[in-house]
């Protein structure tokens, strides 16, 4: 049976979403536990993707189709994993591009990579007002909030959003990650964010560290 999981990990690495979904179904039919399918099939494959991406052996589109394959597998597993420790440990992330900013390539990239790593991501889209972040945190109770901005003129709204979470009494319930072209480590510290990431790969690592 380990063969199914090995094959699943390998198909996931190749970005074959339909094959992965089929193999997940097959594994469940054969009586494997959902948590084992997740850990030894999907996450095992995605770990290899993450490692090879970090070494520069994989390109972003290759990582993204692998992430989509992960997603296809998770769509089947998630309902069966309610209350499971692995999923609960990874947790939810609310993500969005801050108010006034319509750029979302980087944000989408982070979203897909996070999903690939097993996070459940609630995407608020672009031009997200501070109140909308506050409402989403209240409604979804995520462990993480991710904010993106491409412009120096809009990046100030990262601070506005953090202040709004503070005012709503929600700041301490979440870890906050920020990123985007003009954003720096120093800026993250200055506005009281918990982490800064230079790229999508680093964002996943930072997210993992924050929820660990």
């Amino acid at each position: 049976m380990a063969d199914v999981l090995k094959q699943m990990a390998s198909k996931l690495y190749d970005g074959e979403d339909e094959a992965v979904a089929e193999l997940v179904q097959q594994a469940l039919t054969a009586g494997l536990k959902p948590a084992d399918v997740l850990a030894d099939g999907l996450i095992a494959g995605m770990d290899r993707v993450g490692r090879d991406f970090k070494n520069g052996d994989l390109f972003v589109p290759e990582v993204l189709i692998a992430a989509k394959a992960m997603h296809a597998g998770m769509a089947i597993l998630r309902p069966l994993l309610v209350g499971d420790a692995t999923v609960a440990r990874m947790g939810k992330c609310v993500i969005g591009t801050v108010q006034g900013d319509l750029h979302d390539i980087g944000k989408n990239l982070v979203k897909m990579m996070m999903e690939g790593a097993g996070f459940e991501v609630v995407d608020l889209g672009v031009d997200v007002k501070p109140e909308k972040f506050v409402d989403a945190v209240r409604a979804h109770q995520p462990k993480l909030v991710g904010m993106s901005a491409l412009l120096t003129t809009t990046m100030v709204n990262m601070k506005t959003t953090i202040d709004a979470l503070q005012a709503a009494g929600l700041r301490d319930s979440v870890k906050i990650m920020i990123g985007g072209a003009p954003v720096t480590e120093a800026y993250a510290r200055q506005i009281g964010a918990d982490a800064y990431s230079a790229d999508a790969g680093a964002a996943v690592d930072a997210a993992r560290a924050l929820v660990a």
């Binding site: 970005g15 390109f59 972003v60 589109p61 290759e62 993204l64 189709i65 992430a67 989509k68 390539i105 989408n108 990239l109 897909m112 720096t184 480590e185 230079a198 790229d199």
Partner: protein, 480 residues
């Protein structure tokens, strides 16, 4: 590789029009008939006289039909093989291959970075580095070995090269003794005379003496090569302003006249021999009288000679990756880039002289590493743009639609490696990542890549017993 996708000629680069080419060819035929060339090889003069040339002392004047016949009988395409069986040069117009230069007096020491005399071991390093670099297709020795019997330098050079690369080699010699030694070393490396005859693993690089002189030594070497079915690269030449007229067109005539008269002589010795004419038409900087490899005219005239060669159905040896700069600096990078791009676009068959600094006086392994990256970029340009139903991607565009993204589509993932070139040396990181990785300059990365190759690259081994045979050949040459 070929220039352009076969069916879709995206890049169209020519220096001369058909009419200009025809005028230059006619002028060259007139020059060979009226002025002629000096031939310092008795048998060659005899062959030329028998074929109808007018011989007066060493001066030989060639009737046009002799030249036209030689052009017609040169094979349309032939091969030089690597002993690894994987690398093969197709010598034909528009097949482009890159390689290093030859006979620099000085060498940049790869350990200390110092400029010192070239010595034993340097051609071995050159061969190993070229063996490792994806975009070098053949090997030349780069440096002229000092510290050995001077007349044996080309033999030691060849012995070192053949042991350190599986790629094809361009060899040269001072004398027939050199040629015999080199050929016997090649037989040992190939694993037998028949094997070498069927698949020559080296070609002879022979040069005329500009303007318009064929020397006894070079013609003797060429005759030895073709008698043993070894292909010959035979270069014309003439530096505009010094050994050729200062005008571009006049310089082209002098180069072409030497190339084509050499071709005639070689085919009279052996009809249908494998010959690749070539030329290094570098102009002279008339402020100093020094040749200027990095001059734009060098690449312009090379590309023009390439146009003419293609028109005549001949391959051509061109020049790129050579600079007058004294260190591997911005000038070296800029001049190399211009030369590599123009050589590639013009479709030169064998492009040589990569790794030259200081006017062909100084060889640099680091420069080979840099030029490899420039060739890689140039090859991406040479490939042009493939236009097919599949690459037009209308279904994909329709599926993704306005405001969507193409980065996570399977189509992108499947084609991302073949469609978009990625550098191995040049940096494209975000500042923070670049800083975290040590804030390396391009030169730092070139040095690291070179160190990595020198430490870790292993060329394919020689056949069993070949190394001992080569040692014996070298010992006997020393005792002669």
């Amino acid at each position: 590789m070929d220039v352009n996708y076969h069916a879709h000629h995206t890049l169209q680069f020519r220096v001369l029009s058909d009419r200009q080419i025809e005028r230059i060819v006619q002028a060259t035929l007139e020059c060979l008939q009226r002025t002629g060339v000096d031939v310092y090889h008795a048998e060659a003069r005899h062959l030329l006289a028998s074929a109808g040339a007018r011989v007066d002392g060493v001066r030989v004047r060639l009737p046009p039909h002799l030249v036209q016949e030689a052009i017609a009988i040169n094979p349309r395409a032939f091969s030089v093989w690597g002993r690894d069986g994987r690398h093969r040069l197709t010598i034909a117009p528009d097949h482009v291959h890159f390689g290093p230069g030859v006979t620099t007096t000085f060498f940049v020491d790869p350990d200390t970075g110092e400029r010192r005399l070239t010595r034993r071991g340097d051609p071995a390093l050159t061969a190993r580095v070229c063996d490792a670099l994806d975009h070098f297709d053949y090997v030349m020795g780069l440096g002229l070995i000092s510290g050995v019997k001077p007349e044996l330098a080309p033999v030691y050079e060849f012995a070192e090269m053949v042991a350190n690369t599986g790629k094809p080699i361009l060899a040269w010699g001072y004398s027939l003794h050199n040629m015999r030694d080199i050929h016997h070393i090649a037989i040992a490396a190939a694993g037998g005379e028949d094997v070498l005859r069927a698949r020559p693993l080296y070609a002879l690089f022979a040069t005329s003496h500009p303007p318009l002189i064929h020397t006894d030594a070079e013609i003797s070497n060429a005759f030895y090569a073709v008698e043993h079915d070894i292909p010959v690269i035979y270069t014309g030449g003439g530096s505009a302003g010094a050994t050729a007229p200062v005008t571009g067109a006049g310089a082209l005539v002098v180069s072409l006249a030497a190339m084509l008269s050499g071709l005639v002589i070689i085919h009279l010795k052996k009809r249908g021999a494998l010959v690749c004419p070539g030329s290094v038409p570098e102009p002279v900087d008339l402020r100093t009288g020094r040749p200027a490899y990095g001059a734009p005219e060098m690449s312009l005239y090379s590309a023009a000679l390439c146009d003419i060669s293609r028109y005549l159905g001949l391959p051509f040896l061109g020049t790129a990756g050579a600079s007058e700069a004294k260190t591997l600096d911005l000038q070296a990078a800029i001049e190399s880039t211009l030369q590599v791009i123009l050589s590639g676009f013009s479709g030169a068959t064998l492009v040589h002289d990569a790794g030259f600094l200081d006017c062909a006086e100084l060889g640099s392994l680091e420069m080979l590493v840099m030029v490899d990256e420039i060739i890689a970029m140039t090859r991406r340009l040479m490939r042009g743009i493939e236009v097919t139903d599949e690459t037009l991607a209308l279904d994909l565009i329709d599926r993704i639609g306005p405001g969507g993204e193409f980065m996570s589509s399977k189509d992108t993932a499947r084609r991302c490696r073949s469609e978009l070139w990625v550098p191995t040396i040049f940096d494209r990181e975000r500042w923070v990542n670049w800083e975290a990785a040590g804030a390396l300059s391009t030169l730092d990365r070139i040095k690291l890549r070179l160190r990595d190759i020198l430490h870790s690259h292993t060329p394919p081994p020689l056949p069993v017993g070949a190394a001992e045979q080569i040692e014996t050949i070298l010992r006997e040459a020393e005792q002669r």
